[in-house]
Symmetry: C2
Subunit: 320 residues, 2 copies
């Protein structure tokens, strides 16, 4: 399972009633943050997910509205008592950005390990998940992320019986351990069912909808995608500034066969993103307009990728 | 006149209902900001003072909660259309801090001129005001500020008449220009009345109440001062961390003969600073507990430093 929490949905500047675009996931007890604009730690504190277990931060790019909150967050995580290393992922140049911003956070009680990723890289993130990245198109290096959590193969009870393995040895196998039976070592794979689909989501922001990104997010359960402009009228601006309109994001979700779409990163000129929801839903019906405090879950299920309970969304109090 | 606007009142971390400590002044059409923690631009936007005319930023010190909002603000001021140079004042090391943070604001449409100040420095700020600084005591270099706006000497009508200057030449003299009368040059000083008191305020935060700072703020119309802790119970913490309690700040205001005291920079553990107001007012009655959106004015008046209309305070809507 992966828990999802939208922290902010804004673009370019933090507004009195809209935090900058970023979101947080929880996998087991690990927290991983995606982008960190100025103020990101403020709604985060409001939603009580804690700061200490922030194991990793994934950055899409280095524009200030996606990274300016880092030094303040570094302090807040330190104050929460973290001593384990923190991993930072981002496009080439991330180490210099982190070094520059750490001029006001030079001493921290935890190590910081920066990983610069480029198109096609696949890395293991904390929490047993993997990230694949692809370059987008935004004028500066930008990465889209595809996050996957694999699902362990089920225990094949019938196979265990047919091999004559005593019931008291099943739990070790179920926990992935090998056992010895009749003098023979039996590994967990011997009693595992067929491979099972895990859960996955894509995070794509500050980019045009490229073929490269389409391939990256093909078949994800959930696509979290920017929609800086609400409608086709702003198509020219979207192309000029390396962003997407709601219809473009919805088309990407549809063509990539995503299970659901969360739209975020709303331009400051769009006062009420909900008013433009129809522009996305006529292309891709399973679209949610994000707001700070929106939560969801990606849960394992057997092959029903379109299952409506895959993404359970709801708001929390204090939403702004 | 000097207009005052409190943007935030928090210490250490920006909280969901308390912005970090900073405030803004307006002198004629110039804006000058004092400190800039993460999120400072957000309430600022709410109060509609504009960003373009931000001519100067005065920093007390370089802890993240007082400077992390700079790079985002630099972009916002750029987006507001500024092209004139911006001046940044702060203790030694300010240039390195600004350079580090500008890793995410490398190209701006205005020049940035950094002035590093040390104990006793006096500088002219934009808007025709002067700043005098003094070192505080906080573990790292910290500056207290004393801001003064001088008042022009009045036009001495009787003197102008006795010198035989025709009425049609008075306005030039009143505007500070020299005239020629009867073949003789007459400067504005020749028809100026006695020197008049201007207005002044002190800004003192993140420091113990030192003798040095007492001398700096002696006789100011308004002292804006930190009160990180509400009462004497936290006196030991205040001493250990280089801060002040409400009673200590009130004592500084009283002993320095300030006209009024605004308390700000409340520790995150102090949920309701108003509850501790009595701890300050029993020492210095004219104490205001600041909140984001608090405004005030320092207006010229002839010699009545204690006049209650010197500081007119009120709240604006949207206060948080």
């Amino acid at each position: 399972m992966i828990d999802l929490l939208v922290l902010g949905t804004g673009a370019m500047v933090p507004l009195p009633h809209r935090w900058l675009s970023s979101f947080l996931i929880r996998v087991d007890s690990s927290l991983i943050l995606f982008d960190c604009g100025e103020g990101t730690q403020i709604p985060w504190r409001q939603y009580h997910w804690g700061f200490k277990r922030l194991d990793a931060i994934c950055l899409t790019h280095h524009h200030a509205d996606h990274v300016a909150g880092l030094p303040g967050l570094f302090h807040t995580v330190a104050n929460a008592g973290r001593t384990e290393p923190m991993h930072i992922y981002g496009p080439p140049g991330t180490a210099d950005i982190v070094t520059g911003l750490r001029v006001i956070a030079p001493r921290l009680p935890y190590d910081m390990i920066v990983h610069e990723l480029d198109d096609g890289a696949v890395v293991d993130l904390p929490g047993g998940i993997t990230a694949r990245v692809a370059r987008g198109e935004h004028g500066v290096p930008v990465l889209g992320y595809r996050i996957e959590r694999p699902r362990r193969r089920a225990f094949d009870r019938d196979r265990a019986i047919s091999l004559g393995i005593p019931v008291e040895q099943w739990s070790a196998l179920q926990r992935g351990k090998a056992i010895t039976h009749d003098g023979q070592e039996i590994g967990p794979d011997a009693v595992a069912g067929p491979p099972r689909k895990g859960v996955s989501f894509g995070f794509v922001t500050d980019t045009r909808p490229t073929a490269n990104l389409h391939d990256l997010v093909a078949g994800v359960d959930l696509l979290i995608c920017e929609g800086t402009y609400g409608g086709d009228d702003d198509g020219e601006k979207a192309r000029a500034w390396g962003h997407m309109t709601f219809p473009e994001a919805a088309t990407l979700a549809r063509d990539a066969d995503a299970g659901a779409l969360w739209l975020t990163h709303f331009g400051a000129g769009m006062a009420k993103p909900d008013d433009f929801a129809g522009n996305a839903r006529r292309i891709f019906p399973h679209t949610t307009i994000c707001h700070s405090g929106l939560t969801g879950q990606l849960t394992f299920s057997d092959g029903y990728r379109e299952s409506p309970d895959r993404v359970e969304s709801g708001s929390v109090s204090g939403d702004r």
